[in-house]
Symmetry: C3
Subunit: 199 residues, 3 copies
């Protein structure tokens, strides 16, 4: 582990793959075999399980829980109290009738969060979904389906309600398939592959 | 307390009634007069208040909060960030106008979770409800009413959306009052008392 | 800080402005420049950020997160797992394209909670809203708009569903603009300024 990693004395860090400049605050736990990039911030009381993979410059606010099977790209914002999941039909693994199910990793669901996306406070994320790059998930949402890139989504279950710019500003409606951010002037187009940015 | 109980050095365990093989992880607190059975797992940051009663082989994921008045049967799964409650109309007990209300336990609501049930991540549970055995509460749900045995329920407020097998698999629709799990072949019947299993 | 403040040995209290009789429990953190009044109770695992201001006799249940920009009046109940927010369009401040946005405090939203209000368990609160005095927010709610005084509100998004008395009891429907609490006999009137109490 880099000598430039900050670990609060009341945090538990067992992983040895934390990038330069990453900070882990009190009562947080980064487990063995969790991977964190450079310049991340892991808030108080977060739990980062072994088998999760987190990129660079990711902000993880207090109390967020990230499990095995979750992959988070660079520049993502994970709000306070966000709960990921990795089992669509959980039972107590100690229950005799399901011991076989939990003997291998067939139950494990995988979740992807794309570059620069934001996940609002206290959101819950069903496993098996993919959150597109620069998507913005509103606070208190329940994510049960894939979220397209740049989409603004919220509610329980969450639905797409519009689109946001990379900078976070809500985009005006698309006209003839294109729009432009009022804050930073970046252009966006709707294509067969979804919303993209560029001229 | 059994000598076979594991308590993480950063956990707080004041209860003396934890069964054999039960483990309590960091930053969790099992209060005096909370009862936990054997072979339970209490995840990081959980709070188990005095006056709650928890059976055997219960899996309680990180950050769950279980209060006085909550009774959890054997083999239950309590997902990460699940919040029980025990007061339907809470006020700050320090507020002068409600001191009388909080002088006795008349405000205390009771909640039951039946054997083998699963409560999904970040679910909130109003007090006074009963969750039936082997019911499955989806992630992010708000439980405001009783949940029948074997029911699959989710949303805010949560509604019954189908039924699940003891093994966790969603059951096909009932035909002539019966159905069978495609994964484990267990049969179920709809009766006047709700869904039951057996020939 | 008053000598009559209780700080659990596993709590972190950096603020010096906690009033007489206030207690802070394990794994909670009251940051420098957070202000807490007298006779408050800060449950386990709470996070009270610098720049938040909290009145007297406030009950803050376990795991609640209160950020800069949040002001809470006297006698408020903040339920377990309640998450406030202070940024309507969060991005990771470490992401190069938004560094300018986070260089000043223009992103910071403010939230007010009025005297005697109750916020139910696991509720999420969008920033920029005002919760009226003695309002009652049901458990699991997503607050996205102002809540009137004495209003009972719940759901995602939360909607006003009725009114409650100062004592916590649900009020009967208003007739000719007035009603009376069946529990404590307090009278209420609907006025142009909202619901008020008094003769």
């Amino acid at each position: 582990m880099s000598s430039n990693v900050f670990v609060h004395p009341q945090a538990i860090v067992e992983s040895t793959t934390l990038g330069v400049g990453t900070r882990v605050w009190a009562f947080a736990h980064v487990c063995k075999e969790a991977t964190l990039g450079a310049n991340c911030n892991v808030g108080e009381g977060c739990y980062i399980e072994g088998g999760s993979r987190i990129g660079d410059r990711v902000t993880i606010k207090n109390g967020a829980m990230i499990w095995e099977g979750v992959t988070i790209a660079d520049d993502v914002f994970v709000g306070p109290g966000v709960v990921f999941t990795n089992d669509l039909r959980p039972r107590s693994p100690r229950f005799a009738a399901v011991v076989e199910r939990y003997a291998s990793k067939g139950w494990l669901g995988h979740t992807q969060v794309g570059r620069g996306a934001s996940i609002g406070a206290n959101t819950t994320i069903s496993c098996g979904v993919s959150i597109g790059e620069f998507a913005m998930v509103g606070a208190g949402a329940m994510i049960t389906a894939d979220v397209p890139a740049y989409a603004l989504t919220f509610g329980n279950p969450a639905r797409v309600r519009g689109y946001v710019c990379m900078c976070g500003t809500k985009l005006p409606s698309f006209r003839n398939g294109s729009t432009r951010c009022v804050a930073c002037s970046l252009r966006y187009r709707k294509t067969a592959k979804g919303v993209v940015t560029g001229e």
